[in-house]
């Protein structure tokens, strides 16, 4: 159901409210109803119980009176003198007539023979020949006031025999009609269904308004709830049970003193609860109707006061969402929700104004941005033009240098060649002085050639024309070669040179020729700038992927501020000292370019006067 879904998602406050309201109303109903119902129930029960017990007590009193009167008669009889009685037997008749329930009176001697009797109908006691064996006789002789159990005669007359002893050791006995007692019992009435009857301790009904019940020897001992009441010590019992006629009743009991009888008064449960049920229906029905009215009225009121304004607010929000800021929520009352509506409307106004302002600013900014974009576009264009120009210049430069180097190298080679000729004496023996001079020419020429080569190299490298052919290069043999080449240089200056390579050092991925070039360059620089001490060539790992080559010398070192520039072009460290160290000043920049082509890095560690360490890294694998 849609509503239940809404409730679960807490989307509908209205439905939640309604549910809670209804539940609350009905719960209150229930509480009040139960309370009132219970109260009525108790009141009714107490009332009935009171009436019942009153009726029972009154009936018990009747019965007791009845028996007491009887006892009195017997008493009188028992005190009479025997001799007198024998002479005036009519006294018995008088006594008999005093008591309407008595059927017969008799007096006996101790041996069981009868002295006198009087009877209303058939005399039975005077025809007794079993007197000495009779229980009524024996119990009376034993000193008890004896009531026999209920007997039914052949004429369906119920009677009991009451006996007691006399002064002279004899017995007086009387037969009592029990149906008189039935009359007493049937006169007990209360309510419409109330009835009473008498049972003895064995559960046998001895008096009932319906004679058949007694004559049929009806017993209640088969009703288990009732056996308890028959044995109840205080004999004032009250309870709900099913009686011997299988009706649901509420009953009370009162014991009749000096007998083994109990009066039971019963009222049908339907009657006992009649008022309660009626009240329940009326109450229930009334409260139900009232609740319905309350719910309908209450919920309509809340609808109007709360939920309707809320939905109007929501409508307003919808309009704003759709950017219809001109919409204003209708305010009916200036209550809590009304005030929200007013604020809402004010907010709408503000928003409208804000929007208007914003649009202006946006227009401004847009203009500015457009101008900047235009400027940028110009600059980009210029830059591109410049790049093209620069490229053109670079190309021109390279071409020029290549051409010029070639142009320069050709005659220079000739000069060097012929100079060699002269040195070799192929053009005739030269005087010694001339030999020194020719040597000088050769050296300078050589130097010039180196310079040109370096410039060409560098240009090639810079313009990207240098290609390195990388392969896996075994380091140890390479180092040996280099040491061999450098050895000559080193010996001249009296320096020591050593190489340190870890055993089983892996090959590096490099151009062999160029690598040699770099190492030779660094070594020659080391030799150049070291007057004494040693030079070592070390190889180890920079990291897992790169090898590190180090050329360490004990030379003059390089000051920190100069370290910045040494990898630049045409730089020699001590340009100012004028000692004229040979070298083109291009070597380190070429090394830098080459190392970087390999994908490595080059650097220096040095302190003035403490030697220098030049290091570079080469990858171990492609």
């Amino acid at each position: 159901m849609n509503i239940i879904h809404k409730l679960q998602q807490r989307q509908s406050l209205w439905h939640r409210f309604l549910l809670l309201f209804v539940m609350g109303v009905f719960f209150t109903d229930f509480l009040i109803g139960t309370g009132v119902f219970y109260f009525i129930f108790l009141t009714e029960q107490t009332a009935w119980q009171g009436r019942q017990q009153e009726a029972s007590a009154s009936a018990a009193q009747h019965v007791t009176d009845f028996l007491d009167k009887f006892a009195q008669t017997l008493n009188t009889l028992s005190f009479l003198d025997v001799a007198y009685l024998e002479v005036h037997p009519e006294i018995m008749t008088d006594l008999l007539q005093q008591n309407s329930a008595a059927i017969e009176l008799a007096r006996f001697r101790a041996n069981g023979t009868i002295i006198a009797n009087a009877a209303q109908e058939e005399a039975v006691l005077n025809n007794f020949y079993t007197v000495p064996q009779s229980l009524w006789f024996r119990q009376a002789l034993a000193g008890e006031f004896y009531n026999s159990p209920l007997q039914i005669s052949a004429q369906d007359t119920p009677y009991i025999i009451i006996s007691r002893s006399t002064r002279d050791g004899g017995v007086v006995a009387a037969r009592l009609r029990m149906d008189v007692l039935w009359k007493v019992v049937s006169e007990i009435q209360f309510g419409q269904t109330g009835q009473a009857y008498i049972v003895n301790r064995d559960g046998l009904i001895v008096a009932h308004h319906n004679p058949k019940v007694v004559l049929n020897l009806t017993t209640i001992k088969e009703r288990p709830e009732l056996t308890a009441l028959l044995q109840a010590p205080d004999n004032k019992w009250h309870g709900f049970y099913t009686n011997f006629e299988y009706l649901h009743v509420v009953g009370t009991t009162v014991a009749i003193p000096k007998t083994n009888w109990v009066i039971i008064t019963e009222l049908s449960q339907a009657e006992a609860f009649a008022v309660t049920w009626r009240a329940a229906f009326l109450l229930g029905g009334g409260m139900l109707l009232l609740s319905v009215a309350v719910i309908i009225t209450g919920s309509r009121l809340i609808q109007r006061l709360v939920f309707l304004p809320l939905s109007q607010l929501q409508q307003g929000a919808e309009h704003f969402k759709q950017q219809d800021l001109a919409y204003r929520v209708v305010v009916v009352h200036e209550d809590e929700i009304g005030r929200v509506a007013i604020s809402f409307n004010q907010m709408a106004t503000e928003l409208q104004q804000l929007y208007a302002g914003l649009e202006e600013k946006v227009a401004e900014r847009t203009q500015q941005l457009e101008k900047i974009a235009a400027d940028n576009a110009e600059l980009v264009q210029e830059r591109e033009a410049t790049i093209i120009k620069l490229r053109a210049v670079d190309r021109a430069k390279s071409q020029f240098i290549t051409l010029m180097s070639h142009e320069l190298r050709t005659p220079l080679n000739a000069v060097l060649g012929f100079t060699e000729l002269l040195m070799l004496g192929l053009s005739g023996e030269l005087p010694a002085q001339a030999q020194n001079d020719v040597k000088l020419i050769y050296d300078n020429g050589q130097h010039l050639l180196n310079l040109i080569n370096d410039i060409l190299d560098l240009t090639q490298v810079e313009s990207g024309q240098t290609h390195i052919m990388c392969e896996m290069v075994e380091v140890a043999p390479l180092i040996d070669e280099i040491i061999t080449v450098a050895a000559g240089l080193v010996k001249i200056k009296g320096l020591e040179i050593s190489a340190h390579i870890p055993a089983h050092f892996p090959p590096v991925y490099a151009d062999r020729t160029r690598l040699k070039q770099i190492l030779l360059n660094l070594l020659s620089n080391a030799v150049k700038f070291t007057e004494m001490g040693q030079i070592s060539l070390k190889v180890d790992w920079a990291d897992e992927a790169h090898a590190r080559f180090r050329v360490v010398d004990t030379g003059i070192g390089i000051s920190l501020d100069k370290q910045e520039f040494i990898f630049g072009k045409f730089q020699q460290v001590d340009m100012s000292d004028g000692r004229g160290h040979s070298g083109t000043g291009l070597g380190l920049s070429i090394c830098k370019e080459l190392v970087e082509l390999h994908g490595g890095k080059i650097g220096v560690k040095s302190e003035l006067g403490l030697g220098a360490e030049f290091y570079f890294t080469i990858p171990l694998s492609p």
Partner: protein, 371 residues
């Protein structure tokens, strides 16, 4: 919105009314009585066993019972009361028994008798008040009085004068001509009565005195053959002139000789009686109760009187009894004559019982010796 409210409210109202409706149904329930549990009437057996003196139930009575209820009666007999008690002790199972008053107290105490549900025996109301609620069985829980009779003297009125006292039995004049039955209770009882004591005396001394008289009587007496139903024949023949007797004797005697008469001595007589009882072990208690009720019907009960010649405790049967029997003073004695009558029971004192047994044994021994 409004429709929704109405829908919800209507739903709740429906629930509410349903609730109220259910409650009212529940309320109605409590007024209606629960039907009584169906107790099925016990099924009736093929036959019931009736254990008594011979001839207690006329054939017609048994046939009528079978015709009405479909239950046959198997008649079993005993020759003496001791036999009944012995049989019960031995574990014999019967349904209905006839038991003399003397043995009732003992059997009740032993739990051998079943409590009778008088709702099934409504005809019990026909029993005379005389026999109800007697001390040995208060409220007649176990016994329904059956026959009763008085013990007296039967005599040849032409041969001896009318006896007035039990002591005549010891009168040497009639030596050898006095008939006594081998019924210790009546013999000892008569002796006790003759010496002025209760026939159910619990006293050893009293019993001993009676015993002495009995020995005197024995000089005179002969034991009447138990096979004989009555002493009538022997009286008629003159073999004996005097005997302890009951109504059956006089009824038969009268047919044999007008001279045979019956008298109750002045000391008073013994009232004997028997009862219908249901054995506790009987598997057919309900059917047995039906039989008891049947036998208490006035017209049926009268048939027993007419057939057996014994008085009945059933007052209502009187109109149906043969007028001849009804008027018979022996059978239905005038109660004025029953002055000093005593119901024949038994003493409970074990020592006394033992003494009685000894006395009677002595008596029998002496008798046989004499003969």
């Amino acid at each position: 919105m409004q429709t929704r409210i109405l829908v919800l409210v209507t739903k709740f109202m429906l629930i509410g009314f349903m609730f109220v409706g259910i409650m009212s149904l529940v309320a109605c329930q409590s007024a209606v009585a629960t039907p009584p549990p169906a107790t099925p009437t016990p099924s009736l057996p093929q036959e019931l066993t009736f254990y008594a003196w011979p001839g207690y139930l006329p054939d017609k009575v048994m046939a009528d019972f079978k015709a009405e209820y479909g239950v046959g009666i198997k008649y079993e007999t005993y020759g003496s009361e001791d036999e009944v008690v012995a049989a019960v002790h031995a574990g014999k199972v019967v349904d209905v028994m006839v038991v003399d008053y003397r043995y009732v107290a003992q059997l009740i105490a032993e739990g051998a008798l079943a409590e009778i549900d008088y709702r099934n025996v409504p005809n019990y109301k026909n029993i005379s008040a005389n026999f109800r609620n007697l001390a040995h069985d208060p409220e007649n829980k176990y016994t329904v009085p059956y026959h009763w009779g008085i013990t007296g003297l039967v005599y040849r009125s032409d041969l001896i004068p009318e006896p007035t006292s039990w002591a005549i039995l010891a009168d040497p004049k009639y030596k050898g001509k006095v008939g006594i039955w081998d019924i210790p209770a009546s013999g000892i009882g008569i002796a006790l009565k003759a010496v002025g004591y209760s026939i159910n005396s619990e006293s050893l001394t009293e019993t001993q005195v009676a015993g002495d008289l009995l020995l005197k009587i024995k000089q005179n007496s002969v034991i009447i053959n138990a096979a004989e139903a009555t002493s009538a024949k022997q009286l008629a023949s003159g073999e004996i002139v005097l005997a302890v007797g009951w109504s059956a004797d006089i009824i038969e005697g009268r047919t044999l000789s007008k001279e045979i008469k019956f008298v109750i001595p002045q000391e008073g007589t013994l009232l004997w009686g028997d009862n219908l009882v249901i054995q506790a072990n009987s598997p057919h208690q309900y059917a047995a109760e039906l039989l008891l009720d049947f036998l208490m019907r006035p017209e049926i009960n009268a048939q027993l009187v007419n057939g057996n010649g014994y008085a009945t405790a059933n007052e209502a049967a009187r109109p149906f009894v043969d007028p001849e029997l009804l008027n018979d003073p022996v059978l239905f004695p005038d109660t004025q004559k029953l002055y000093n009558v005593e119901l024949l029971l038994l003493p409970r004192n074990v020592a006394v019982l033992k003494l009685r047994a000894e006395i009677w044994q002595q008596y029998l021994d002496t008798l046989s010796a004499a003969q």
